[in-house]
Subunit: 222 residues, 2 copies
C-alpha cells in the first residue's frame, strides 16, 4: 500500500482561535483555496463519503485531503489510493482541530495549488464544533444508525454546520429513523442548514452534494 505522510500537529499557542481562523480564511481567499471542514461521529462514513466526493469532482478541480485522527493512518491510506494529495494529521490525543493545527496541516499538504481542501476532522460530535478551523464552510455527516434525535443531543454541531449529509439511507428500513423529524430537529438548530440524504456506499445523493460543493468552490474563487 502507498505510504502516507503523517504530520504531528500541535495545539495553538495563540489564545484567540477565532482571530487565527479569520486570518486563515483571508489567506485561503487570497490563494483561492476553498477549505471544507467535515465533521461527524466515529463511523458515520466520512472517509467513504470523501472517496465518492473525490470521484465526482477530481476531473474538474485539484483536491487535497487532510485526515485528522488521534492515531492510525488507515483513512489517509484509503484516500491516497485515489491519487489526490493527502496527508494524515495526528492530533496527539486532542479531540478536535483548531485553526493553527489546520494551518499546519495545509502547509504540510502544500495546499497552495489546490482548489478544494477538505479537512476530515476527528470523529466526535462535541468538541470539533467548538473550534473555528478557518474553513469556508462546515459540513457534518449524521448516519441513519445513529438516530434522528442527534440534533437534540448535540446542538452546537448542528448549529455551526452549513450542510448536513444524512448518510447510510440504504439501511433506513432496519432502523427507527424518521427523516422528517431529523430535518425538523436540524432546522431547529440552524434554519438555513442544507440537508442532503446520501448513501456513500451506493453513491445515492452524491450528485446533489457534489453540485453544492462545486458551486461553493466556484463562488469562492471568483
Amino acid at each position: 500500500m502507498k505510504d502516507v505522510r503523517v504530520l504531528e500537529v500541535k495545539q495553538s499557542v495563540f489564545a484567540n482561535n477565532d482571530k487565527q481562523a479569520e486570518e486563515l480564511r483571508k489567506d485561503l481567499k487570497r490563494r483561492k483555496v476553498y477549505l471544507l471542514n467535515l465533521m461527524s461521529s466515529p463511523g458515520s462514513g466520512k472517509t467513504t463519503t470523501l472517496m465518492r466526493t473525490i470521484e465526482a469532482l477530481k476531473d474538474e478541480m485539484k483536491i487535497g485531503v487532510m485526515e485528522a485522527d488521534i492515531d492510525s493512518d488507515v483513512d489517509a491510506r484509503t484516500i491516497a489510493s485515489t491519487g489526490v494529495k493527502s496527508i494524515q494529521l495526528h492530533t496527539g490525543g486532542m479531540c478536535h482541530l483548531d485553526a493553527e493545527m489546520t494551518r499546519q496541516g495545509l502547509d504540510g499538504l502544500e495546499a497552495g495549488d489546490v482548489d478544494l481542501a477538505i479537512l476530515e476532522n476527528v470523529g466526535n460530535l462535541v468538541c470539533p464544533a467548538e473550534f473555528d478551523t478557518g474553513a469556508c464552510k462546515n459540513a457534518c455527516i449524521l448516519s441513519v444508525p445513529e438516530g434522528h434525535d442527534k440534533p437534540l443531543k448535540y446542538p452546537l454541531m448542528f448549529t455551526v454546520c452549513d450542510v448536513v449529509l444524512v448518510n447510510k439511507i440504504d439501511v433506513m428500513s432496519y432502523f427507527d429513523f424518521d427523516m422528517e423529524k431529523c430535518m425538523e430537529y436540524i432546522h431547529m438548530r440552524n434554519p438555513d442548514a442544507k440537508v442532503i440524504p446520501i448513501c456513500a456506499k451506493t453513491g445515492e445523493g452524491i450528485g446533489e452534494w457534489a453540485d453544492w460543493l462545486r458551486s461553493e468552490v466556484r463562488a469562492w474563487q471568483e
Copy 2:
C-alpha cells in the same frame, strides 16, 4: 411523560482528577454502591442497552441511572419510564464527565441506597476516556454500523475499558463488519478486555452482559 430531574453539573475545581476519582471509589466501596461508567459514540445504543440491563437486573438489585448529556432530557425520560431512580446531568457543553461531576450526579441521584449506579457518559469516543470518573469499571459500546476499525482510531477508549459490548449485531449482514478483526483490535489495546456481542433491540447477548454485571456488583459488595 414523567418529569425528570435535571442537574447542571460543574467541572471540577480540583487540579487532580485522579485523586478525586480514587476518593470517590473509596466512598462507593464503603457505601457498597457499584458504579459503572458507560461510554460510546453518539447513537451506538447506550440508552437501549441500559433499558435491557435494567429489565434484566431490577428485581435483584436497586439500580440508579445518571444520564449525562450536553443538552436535552430525552434519555432520562426514557429511563425514568422503567421506574428506577434516574437523573439527567447537563454538562454545560462539556464533552466528558470528571470525578467531581460524577460525585455531584451521585449526590443528586441520592444514590446511597442503590446497589448499582450507572453513569451514561456523554456520547464521545475521545474525551470521556481521558477522565477517571471514579467508577468501579468502565464499559463501552461499539455498534456494528460504526465499523470494526474503531479500536485502531480511538485507542485510549479501548485501553481503559474493562468490557466492550458490540451492539446491533442484528444488522451485521448489511455492514462490512468483521467480528474477528474487531476482537483482535480491541485486544491489541487491552488484552484483558471482555467482549460481548449484543443486540439491545432484540435482547440477544444481554444475559451474558447481565451475568457479568451481577457478579461485579456482588464482588464489590462483599
